[in-house]
Assembly symmetry: C2
DNA sequence: TCTATATTTCCAGAATAATTGAATTATGGA
DNA sequence: TCCATAATTCAATTATTCTGGAAATATAGA
């Protein structure tokens, strides 16, 4: 992962609404959730949620799939993994075992 | 780690200057770096750096130690660890092995 | 004590980001 | 085709954050 991708992921998650959405999808797991279920669960207006989901999508933290007129969202654990790796890369002056 | 701490850490890192500072300190390891060395390395004004270091401090991502008139900064890998744990907690609908 | 250095604090202006109402697109069903 | 539902896009307003100049604090050394 490159710096700009990490930055996109971190700033996406560094906002309460989006962290809530992402955590909800992480806990939901493979089943994911429909956009409408997310807005119900978190009491968000559809357009606010949509804007925030777009930011999470662009950051590679979620993906989606249309189901009829609804759209199902999933957390993207690969994107998450890439972020964790970026943050700990080259850590501790070459003594990575002591890092984490 | 609680949500607000995670949020503080994520929004702290979700900004280019601070991510640069943090990464520099992560790579520097136990030796850390003086504030002046950081501002030289990243070409930042002292007051801008100071404001950003304060945000990283409050987020629990760095710590510091005075050395004469200079101040040495270190990355706080425990804070980092707490963040990673928060992000992956309860993941994947109770099938954590499949997560990461 | 006086001066220089290292860093922080305070404040204001500029730049970004978040939310919302209104309108639009996409799909499914009568 | 027409209507209802699900979600998105657009434009504007509000809120937050970032930076930088000036001043202040802390320490070291002459």
């Amino acid at each position: 992962m490159e710096k700009n991708e990490a930055l996109a992921a971190l700033s996406a998650l560094g906002q309460e609404t989006r962290l809530d959405v992402f955590r909800l999808l992480v806990v939901a797991g493979e089943e994911g959730l429909l956009a409408g279920q997310i807005s119900d669960a978190l009491d968000l207006r559809a357009n606010t949620l949509s804007a925030n989901l777009t930011i999470l999508l662009n950051a590679g933290l979620v993906h989606n799939k249309r189901e009829g007129r609804a759209i199902r969202y999933f957390s993207n654990m690969q994107g998450m993994r890439g972020l964790l790796d970026y943050l700990t890369k080259d850590c501790c002056g070459g003594a990575p075992d002591g890092c984490l």
